[in-house]
């Protein structure tokens, strides 16, 4: 039984992360962008866990736990924002939200 190479795991993590990035760049719907961000966070977590596994240390998993907590907090605030945005703009199109542009 051949052991899994560390690079393989990291490449998987990278591909997952970049898929999430493509999603953020491509989708106009805020909800989909949030989903893509979740993918990216998860991929980052995967990289941490793989590193922890390589060195046989628990720190990788600890970092994943922190990412998890952060994602939970982020998602709760972000979804509340999505509700407000939908309420005020009647749309989820991110291109409609350009209040911060330089006039």
């Amino acid at each position: 039984m051949m052991p899994v190479h560390a690079n393989t795991v990291l490449i998987v993590a990278a591909v997952l992360f970049l898929l999430g990035l493509v999603g953020v760049l491509t989708r106009k719907n805020i909800l989909f962008m949030l989903l893509s961000i979740e993918i990216m966070l998860n991929a980052a977590g995967l990289a941490f866990v793989a590193a922890g596994s390589k060195w046989q240390q628990p720190d990788g998993q600890v970092m994943f736990l922190f990412i998890l907590a952060m994602a939970a907090a982020e998602v709760s605030v972000a979804l509340a924002l999505v509700l407000q945005i939908y309420h005020q703009y009647k749309t989820l199109d991110v291109d409609a939200l350009k209040e911060l542009r330089d006039k």
Binding site: L25, K28, V94, D95, L97, K98, E99, L100, D102
Partner: protein, 629 residues
């Protein structure tokens, strides 16, 4: 007496400070008292100084009062030192005495003006500056006074600043005299470089040892000083500002633009006579400029219709005589002409002021007339002044001074027949327009409604000046008539005597010619403007005389010439440079940052995906660099 010297310029200066600082709160009476009083006391001290000078005459008396050190650098020490010798004393006397009379006159003449205090403040400052100019011990102090009188002239020409034309006239005077002033300061720099000192006595002492006669350096210096004098004294080709300077109040014209300031150039050349004597070329140029000026300005004076402009052109012409005298080396004759000219020209201006006010500010002489009966006193005063201007033989001061100049123009070492003929032509013209002035203004019928006659404050200065216009000449007689030469003896301690050249005809013949010319000028004026005016009407209708009249009337088209030569090209250049060429650089920085800001704020477009793409590109950039390096 020496310790009171400083009072002469300080009193008018104190008057100026008081009027300038507190003038708004003072009553008109107090203003007139302060403004006139300061100059009158200065005049009194000046007269005391003169008597002291005469009584304690030790041959070569010079009063020196050193007040304090102005500034001191390694090689240049400039002290605030007053130095009065015979030449300065003549000028001080004229400035304070004629100035005091004009101040007295002005206190009545300007009484209705709402800027009474400002007027007297400027006049006092002028007198103070002019006194500094003539009392200066060194050229820096002289230059201080020189610029001071220029500034006061500017302020007073533009006294009624609410009229745009007056402001333009003031600007014109200031800018044109500035050309001369620049030449003068360069000349002073050159003198300092060559001689290492700016003390006037030191310069006069060292110049003959340092320079050989007619060398390039001394000629340059002399010509630069001459250019300075030409600017201030309104000589061709820098004369165009003086006729326009008549925009100021009439007492200003009398004091600044006739009696004193415009003769500063004469003072400068007489003061620096050693330098001019070392440069025959500069002497000839001075005489040539004087003769050209006296004819050019005289021709213009013949055809003017504004009484003040006639007098202005006549002033230019008379200063031309002084330059002619200076140029041929007749130093004391030039100063003597300045002396008499100050009296009769101030008198003419003041009398003209009375007439103008009497006729409700009418300045056109052809709308005057018939004033002989209404204003007999002013008429006789004016007649004395005009007679002196025309140089009526024997009974007018102008005759004695002008005769001396004409005589020296022919016979002095630097003189020749051309200068003499120019002077004679000028004498004819002067006599002609003097007669024209008297005849047109005072004789004939009344054409304009009149106001109230002048008060005593205005007539007393006139009478005093008229008396002096007749008698001032008696202190210096022609050599062949009486052996009275008080004036040239007085100046002999400062200025060298005039050397004569050989081979000139007897003085008597030249005098007869000059007298005949003068009298024929007067007669021509009388004939054309009183006896037979039809001739003039006929001339006006024919083409050539009308064209000539137009040419003279516009002052030989000098204004138009400068307009085309200088003003328009300058305006053209400023038009090009309106958006300053050098500002382009800083403007470029501004434009660049604005453009950059615009392109950057294009990136700040509020689009979330755009920002993410920016982050991605940044990551790509960093990783690519890491890969390459």
């Amino acid at each position: 007496m020496q310790q009171y010297l400083f009072l002469i310029p300080v009193l008018p200066l104190a008057g100026f400070l008081l009027l300038a600082l507190a003038g708004k709160t003072m009553s008109k009476r107090a203003i007139a008292f302060t403004g006139t009083g300061s100059v009158c006391v200065a005049a009194l001290i000046a007269i005391l100084l003169c008597t002291d000078y005469l009584s304690g005459n030790s041959g070569n008396a010079v009063y020196i009062q050193s007040l304090w050190q102005w500034f001191q650098t390694a090689e240049l020490a400039v002290g605030l030192t007053l130095r009065v010798d015979a030449l300065s004393l003549v000028f001080i006397f004229i400035i304070t005495f004629v100035g005091a009379l004009i101040h007295v006159f002005a206190s009545a003449y300007m009484r209705a003006d709402r800027d009474y205090a400002r007027f007297f403040a400027c006049m006092n400052l002028f007198v103070a500056s002019m006194l500094v100019l003539v009392m200066a011990d060194n050229l820096v102090l002289l230059y201080l006074g020189w610029e001071g009188v220029g500034m006061c002239s500017y302020l007073l020409i533009g006294f009624w600043y609410e009229t745009a034309a007056n402001c333009r006239a003031a600007n014109k005077a200031f800018i044109i005299t500035r050309i001369g002033d620049t030449a003068l300061i360069i000349g002073i720099f050159l003198l300092f470089r060559e001689l290492g000192s700016l003390q006037i006595p030191a310069i006069l002492d060292q110049a003959p040892q340092r320079f050989s006669s007619g060398s390039g350096a001394i000629t340059t210096i002399a010509l630069l000083l001459l250019a300075g004098g030409m600017g201030k004294s309104a000589q061709v080709p820098l004369q165009t500002w003086l006729p326009d300077a008549m925009a100021g109040p009439t007492p200003v014209s009398a004091l600044i633009h006739a009696a004193t300031m415009v003769t500063a150039g004469v003072y400068l050349i007489a003061r620096m006579h050693t330098i001019f004597l070392l440069s025959p070329l500069a002497m000839t140029v001075t005489a040539a400029i004087g003769s050209i000026t006296l004819i050019v300005a005289g021709c213009s004076a013949m055809v003017q219709t504004d009484i003040k402009r006639i007098l202005a052109y006549s002033t230019i012409s008379q200063i031309g005589y002084m330059f002619l005298a200076l140029g041929v080396g007749a130093w004391s004759a030039a100063i003597f002409h300045f002396f008499t000219h100050a009296f009769f020209k101030a008198l003419l201006f003041l009398a003209a002021g009375v007439v103008i006010e009497y006729l409700h500010h009418e300045q056109d002489i052809f709308r005057m007339g018939g004033l002989k009966k209404q204003l007999p006193l002013v008429y006789y005063c004016f007649l004395a002044g005009a007679g002196s201007l025309a140089a009526v033989p024997l009974i007018s001061a102008g005759f004695y001074s002008k005769d001396a100049i004409l005589w020296y123009a022919y016979s002095a070492a630097g003189g020749n027949a051309i200068f003499w003929i120019a002077g004679l032509v000028g004498a004819f013209i002067t006599a002609f327009y003097s007669a024209r002035l008297v005849v047109v203004v005072f004789w004939g019928d009344r054409k304009t409604p009149v106001g109230s006659p002048p008060g005593r404050t205005m007539t007393i200065p006139l009478v005093i000046l008229a008396f002096l216009s007749i008698t001032a000449g008696f202190i210096e007689w022609p050599h062949n008539l009486l052996n009275v030469h008080l004036f040239s003896e007085w100046l002999g301690t400062v200025l060298p005597a005039t050397s004569l050249r050989g081979g000139h005809p007897p003085e008597f013949i030249l005098q007869i010619v000059a007298v005949v010319i003068t009298l024929s000028g007067i007669c021509t004026g009388y004939y054309l403007y009183f006896r037979n005016t039809a001739v003039l009407a006929q001339w006006k209708s024919s083409r050539f005389p009308a064209a000539a009249r137009e040419f003279f009337f516009s002052g030989w088209k000098f204004d138009a010439l400068y307009n085309h030569l200088v003003v328009r090209p300058f305006l053209f250049l400023t038009g090009i440079n309106k958006r300053d060429v050098f500002d382009r650089l800083s403007d470029g920085i501004v434009t660049f940052s604005k453009q950059f800001n615009r392109s950057l704020s294009f990136s700040q477009n509020g689009s979330l995906r755009w920002y993410v793409a920016g982050v991605l590109i940044g990551i790509l950039f960093i990783i690519t660099i890491q890969l390459i390096l």
